[in-house]
Symmetry: C2
Amino acid sequence: MLPRGRPRALGAAALLLLLLLLGFFLLGGHLASFPCALPPRVPPDGRPRGAAACDPHPQADLGGHNRSDCVLPRPLPPKCELLHVAIVCAGHKTSRDVITLVKSLLFYRKNPLHLHLVTDAVARNILETLFHTWMVPAVRVSFYDADELKPQVSWIPNKHYSGLYGLMKLVLPGALPPDLARVIVLDTDVTFAADIAELWALFAHFSDEQVIGLVENQSDWYLGNLWRNHKPWPALGRGFNTGVILLWLDRLRQAGWKQMWKLTATQELLTLPATSLADQDIFNAVIKGHPALVRPLPCVWNVQLSDHTLAERCYLEAADIKAVHWNSPKKLRVKNKHVEFFRNLYLTFLEHDGNLLRRELFGCPSPRPPEAERLQQALAQLDEEDACFEFRQQQLTVHRVHITFLPHQPPPPRPHDVTLVAQLSMDRLQMLEALCRHWPGPMSLALYLTDAEAQQFLRFVEASEVLSARQDVAYHVVYREGPLYPINQIRNVALAQALTPYVFLTDIDFLPAYSLYDYLRASIEQLELGSGRKAALVVPAFETLHYQFSFPSSKADLLALLDAGSVHAFRHHEWPRGHTPTDYARWREAQAPYRVQWAVDYEPYVVVPRDCPRYDPRFVGFGWNKVAHVMELDAQEYEFLVLPEAFTIHLPHTPSLDISRFRSSTTYRGCLQALKDEFLQDLSRHYGAAALKYLTALQQP
Amino acid sequence: MLPRGRPRALGAAALLLLLLLLGFFLLGGHLASFPCALPPRVPPDGRPRGAAACDPHPQADLGGHNRSDCVLPRPLPPKCELLHVAIVCAGHKTSRDVITLVKSLLFYRKNPLHLHLVTDAVARNILETLFHTWMVPAVRVSFYDADELKPQVSWIPNKHYSGLYGLMKLVLPGALPPDLARVIVLDTDVTFAADIAELWALFAHFSDEQVIGLVENQSDWYLGNLWRNHKPWPALGRGFNTGVILLWLDRLRQAGWKQMWKLTATQELLTLPATSLADQDIFNAVIKGHPALVRPLPCVWNVQLSDHTLAERCYLEAADIKAVHWNSPKKLRVKNKHVEFFRNLYLTFLEHDGNLLRRELFGCPSPRPPEAERLQQALAQLDEEDACFEFRQQQLTVHRVHITFLPHQPPPPRPHDVTLVAQLSMDRLQMLEALCRHWPGPMSLALYLTDAEAQQFLRFVEASEVLSARQDVAYHVVYREGPLYPINQIRNVALAQALTPYVFLTDIDFLPAYSLYDYLRASIEQLELGSGRKAALVVPAFETLHYQFSFPSSKADLLALLDAGSVHAFRHHEWPRGHTPTDYARWREAQAPYRVQWAVDYEPYVVVPRDCPRYDPRFVGFGWNKVAHVMELDAQEYEFLVLPEAFTIHLPHTPSLDISRFRSSTTYRGCLQALKDEFLQDLSRHYGAAALKYLTALQQP
């Protein structure tokens, strides 16, 4: 590379600016109505990077002032400049929306990003977990408590569907850090179709007075002629839409923004009953009074889709839409002749594999969080030629986790309450309705899904009356990555999210006795587990081979089915060691809980306190995943107590892909053996001589 | 919009050019080594659209001459200009690769495209079906027969892994239509990360002499110092890579390209034994002799990934990579410290839902093919409020189809041969190995998958010794779209691709008797079906409820299992009408084929000639999909002949989501009833009085 002198480059930029201005001056006529200017800043390395940009005045014309109108398009901010984005987000649904927005942002971005998320407790919980597990390089996330900001806007009557949170964009200059000078503010229903750096670059075109960049409103709402007595808030012409805002924060603070908007809102509310479009009404009223504050932005940065949108005049001309705004309460169901096109764009990111957005930013060195760094080093140490490489890699994979993917009401605190904990993937969705009928209590279910499957799952729940009626079932999505099923990692997510003192650790293809939930709570109370007794309550497991099956309503019914041979002890034929220690013969007669001893390969379904040991995440794919957990319960001296009235029944299903691989591949079986050996070594290390019994037991034929 | 005068705009462009040139002259020094120029052409509407572009001379510097080096980046061709792309493609694997390349192209493109595909018969068959069913607006596809071009290059000895097809880029000027002036030529292992229009725009920077645009080779290969006695073909410096070529065809033809490259190749082959890098060696040798022909392109348009690539110097600087070239025989398994980044980019398009790329091009009106137009109209006529809207929409959906997704050897023509025809989705993959063991003959299997699942399927087959050994099993991918399972459309794809005179129409969860394939062929011959006897041979269906099951090796074995109660007639308990007409009691004793009569809801598994009626595509989701087909066989007077030694056994599996919906939703059942009624009406219309018997039969209780 040739050395580049800063003074020379600066001089060159200045000269070019002069020449360009001269050029536009001479072009005269129609082009003069779209003044273009070079961005004033030169990046730290002294090389000019920006370029002249088109800058239509939207009041004059709603049409698309895009690349085709501009002689010199696409300015860009300095390479690697950190871009700041603020989003207000509350609740389960909006959290899902934000993720789609962020995916579209990340897809096109080439700059480091700092996301400033103003959230309620629900959204914070979801998004903190998500970003923590997503580990996207060169993305920082800060959270701000929306509830603390509420008093600043709660005095404003508002009729918009976004509610109180819709107003919070007004208070961002005060809520964001005082040293943050500029920020792009986005509604959660925006989808990007271009690099946000191009939008950020438009800050460079603000005059000294301008503080708010906005796109004109693409409807006739503010013209006030939509219906008789339609009285919108005051606005300049069609007004502006606040789904995408360039906020020059430090200038706003200096200009006394807080007083300005409050005064305007108070004055308008003397004659108007409430805001109809939340913050947007107030922004427009302020701008009407202070037109010099606003910097109009090209329409393509906020293509607004509603039933009667005028956006078509923008995008038909533009061909390159930069950001779409689903600003109709109908969202994707809006009637619009091009809605299929926009839906496709939205679905592209909705269903995009978020794991692929973990790619690093070349040329913008950004330190990884220590966790990501350790992970990277561990992965780098793996040997790709190792026969068990896939197992090693899968164990190290950190899966993106979206907790409480659907609305969820945490159970009220009750001392003996039990959450059913299980994991599943798409091919077991059809179990959910039956499970809901059998278990009326809280559930924490982890689903192992791709991004696209998560949407199918959402539609499945919404279409089911049984499922959508249940607010006490928490669904946590663990995003798929890698060739082996990380069963214990998924179980651990479900287990970590259980909120009751006890958990029933089960598998998705079992249906519990209808009475089990009540019976377990009663048993926990009677056995006084709360007072420090360390026990795992065993729920005896059975199986039926019939698709259509009349579920026994009592233990007596079950015993009759057992006698008739239509129900058996679970895996009685294929793998008796898994459940034989439960002692089915004794259970038939038992009137009271009885203690049983651990034995090799025992893997009962148990009820334990929430703080029980986690599942060992090394067991991926088929085999030993529950066995190891039960062994660890025994090592920690849990007593196994079989409950005489409890039972659960396994329904028939297709064998999993992993069990097929286990059966057909000697490598697979060899790798599983290696995992077992390592687990046992760790167990010895951790529990010392007490763990010797497992080694001895396993060595017996 | 303001009117724009052509003369004024032309004058403005000329003036701007002058000013810019003056600017760069004055800038002097290092920038002078990257001359920038405005494109010479002004589009038909008189508005200047292009912009100045950076134009590094790659010999001087391998570094990234990207946006950061350019004062005026991103020229674009006229809006809606048709861009031409040529790709040479042969075989099953390369066809899959081309689709990923095309997906990346379509994702970013904003212009109409014309794809010129030079293919062998296999690739043509695959890609014609694919594009026909994909129906992407504003994409035209033309095919050229690679085999016809072979003689023009087959005289050149070539050691490159791409084989003869690797040389065919040399003959494109003669092979493509004579009126085609310019084309972008791409290797199948290229992935785009930007709009190809930006690449096309670089044609505007060619001098009058330049005819070939190329990116410098990003390795030291042509420097000839990689190992002792390494003697590469002659090249200018590092030479150029031909994975991405801008070919100015009419100039090449005028310049006598054909003679030129042949002469050069002949001369070099006097001293060199063969080409090592196929066409690339010859292009470089020609350029070495005629340096004025080449227009160097910015390195970001062909970022070459191999184990020892020098591409890093390009992309670390660039931050915006435009096209990645997997030019190592190891492809995605190449060792490169940033390979994860590039894999992500590749996987993005590999797994991208191709249906989403059907979105139209705004602002570039392009007539749809008549089929797409009819479809659009039919969809527009649907009523979104109709309770059965989902069914109607699903029936009309045209699914993308990728036939022979994996290597496939068509069976040799044999007069009594039978292909097993079935369909499946991901949750039945584990059936495939067992099916291969039970059926040694040809199979045509249609898989209903997402783009991402198709890749999982590919890995699954590659990892299985049993599956990868079978060349007579054709797998056809039908891409998922819509909420209901289009079972009969998928079956029809498998049926249409069967290449033997007879087909065995079965379901994926059945395993046929080991002897069935041989027995069926013998039966067809004995029954003289070839001589016009219209028969459907019934293969009696049974079921077991055991996961692990010792498959009967003969009819006697099966009868013993039946007597022991571990096997039953299929759905004997849940839905006896489906198979009762097969007359299992008679079958037990039968020594010869016997005729049975159709009855209501009969749905046997049958062997029929390949030209049998198709499945009725209106039946989507669960119910009546086979029943309707068997009814139509009966209406067409097929006689049902039960074969005494044939049997097939259903293995247990989880009920499908669709059957769950059927059971739980009255709307679903109502819609199915409506479909049945419409089917029966159509049957009456088509078969007249003969179809009355179905109506009468169905009306009986």
